[in-house]
Subunit: 339 residues, 2 copies
């Protein structure tokens, strides 16, 4: 309606647009009096600079993008909390995009983002069957700074913030073995990503070093469909009654495991013991309390955003050497109790 812009302010003050602009930026080349006059009027008229004009001119958007598989997941929502906290503190805006673990959707989104809409990008790659990362390479070539967190695409030479996935996989599996399990299922997702492979390798190594043969039919690939996962696990448990332990490498699979056990009447931990990666705040209130490997999700978000914004502000490229690995924690609870 009534656009309050630099032109209007300049007219009302009998100044040029240039001077008004400089005054609002506290430029030293405008007199103190003028600055005050300008700022007073700007405040009175509730002037807000047009972000798009500014971005266009300066070629900087003060916006970062966050591309993640989903938000209805405690790991990612906590990470967003961390990201938003540092973005906000440094005056950055946060655009959010959900891939729903869909490779094509992810490609669409990254395509959008090659347009300079964001100064940088925080990303956790979608888990899918595909090993095709060409969309990410294209994105990378188009220039914005990228930092991966948790789910990394290793083919891009940039920084990442991850957790000690190999050790976590090892520890979780060892924990089950020490609790007496001998037939341990590995429920995974993200077979195409390093994170999946690392956890898998930890699982494998733990079995080996405790003299348990690796059985590939005990490795199950879940999807982002909870009901489907529950069915998958239910069938498996029915067909393989010897199964006495389950290692869920993502939160949703731990939940589905509980539901499968409930449906089949298998007692946790008496019949089957379960450990899962999870940031569920109510893990200790579950029936029974769930043993978790918990990632420092909030810190991961903070750290990733910090690396990204530092690079943007200094206009330095992001190097793989800036990568950070944080440690997860195993919280033993009733679901893996030795009776």
């Amino acid at each position: 309606m009534n656009p309050v812009n630099l032109k209007l302010l300049a007219q009302k003050l009998n100044l040029s647009i240039a001077t008004v602009s400089r005054a609002l930026q506290d430029s030293h080349e405008v007199s103190t009096q003028t600055k005050e006059r300008v700022k007073a009027l700007a405040a009175e008229l509730n002037y807000q600079p047009n972000a798009y004009a500014s971005s266009l001119r300066r070629n900087v958007s003060k916006t970062i993008g966050v591309v993640i598989p989903e938000v209805n997941n405690h790991f990612f929502s906590l990470a967003i909390n961390g990201i938003e906290a540092v973005a906000r503190q440094q005056g950055y805006h946060v655009l959010i995009y959900l891939t729903h673990e869909d490779h094509d959707r992810e490609a669409d989104i990254t395509q959008y983002l090659t347009g300079g809409r964001v100064d940088g990008l925080l990303m956790s790659v979608a888990a899918s069957a595909s090993q095709d990362f060409s969309h990410l390479k294209k994105l990378y070539d188009s220039k914005p700074a990228i930092v991966f967190f948790d789910r990394v695409c290793e083919e891009l030479p940039t920084a990442s913030v991850t957790t000690n996935d190999y050790e976590s996989g090892y520890l979780a599996t060892q924990h089950l073995i020490e609790a007496g399990c001998r037939h341990i299922v590995h429920l995974m997702i993200a077979g195409n990503l390093s994170i999946g492979r690392m956890r898998m390798q930890g699982y494998h190594a733990a079995l080996e070093s405790h003299g348990i043969a690796f059985d590939e039919t005990l490795v199950v690939n879940g999807s982002d469909d909870d009901d489907g996962n529950t069915h998958l696990i239910t069938d498996l448990l029915r067909q393989r009654p010897e199964i006495d332990g389950m290692f869920a490498s993502v939160e949703r699979l731990a939940i589905s495991s509980y539901q499968a056990c409930q449906a089949l009447g298998r007692a946790i931990p008496a019949d089957v013991k379960i450990v899962g990666f999870s940031n569920l705040g109510v893990a200790s209130l579950l029936n029974p309390a769930l043993t978790t490997i918990t990632q420092p999700a909030y810190e991961i978000g903070r750290e990733a955003a910090t690396i990204l914004l530092r690079a943007i502000e200094k206009k330095h490229p992001i190097l793989p050497s800036q990568s950070v690995v944080l440690n997860s924690t195993l919280f033993p609870r009733r679901s893996t109790a030795r009776d």
Copy 2:
């Protein structure tokens, strides 16, 4: 580095910038052949239009803002899912801002957003002691379309998407009474908002119609500090041993109630019965399973975004009459079982 823009395309094709621009928009005033030439080159060079230039020129940003208290909460994360789904489908980008239930932070954010950065806004107001909504009024005056969801500011004449809060409060309380409770605590938040008042009135009415006296010392105001809330509830339960029911009007307070009971060794549902508003997917897996009033969070997000985008696209103002009320559902579970 090498900016692929209209000018470059125009040069390479020996066309004017205008023609290239029109060709890319499938304008009828450019020949089919030319269109094809332009599109081919654009694809080859991976041309992406500069979003800021376009927004500046058209005065439309294809971006909506979402302002919510927190994201680490199933209600809001599901709502975001719904919002993102419709935004994405219509080619809109989603900016996210978290208030952490902090009035000042909310004011800061809304101040940012008066700058035309977004075409519209979806908002769930922060719960705080303050009844001061001047920041929202200022925002409203500055023009962007606003739709509230769940947490409404009634002083602004715009649309909202809410649930049947009065009935839900009534139902929850009645459910506890019918399960045998006589001393029912109401754990609330958002005393400054209509949503809080409505649920409260439902609680009040249910007590009255069942001949139970309203006791205002049984109404507790929580905050967004989980540990603090747990302490508050623990103290209350200790001081008032007659309490046999709790109605938590937000998810986090239900969780804190469980923790308080656990700490004090009160059995649920034998000693105390609990019902809470919640979108926790694992409610049925809790110990004991939690009776919930579940809001259709995803649909709320979808609905709110739909109203907003329709208004933006048609450039119609949003009217209060477009408001929608969806129904929540009571899921009785073990936590309110009669024995």
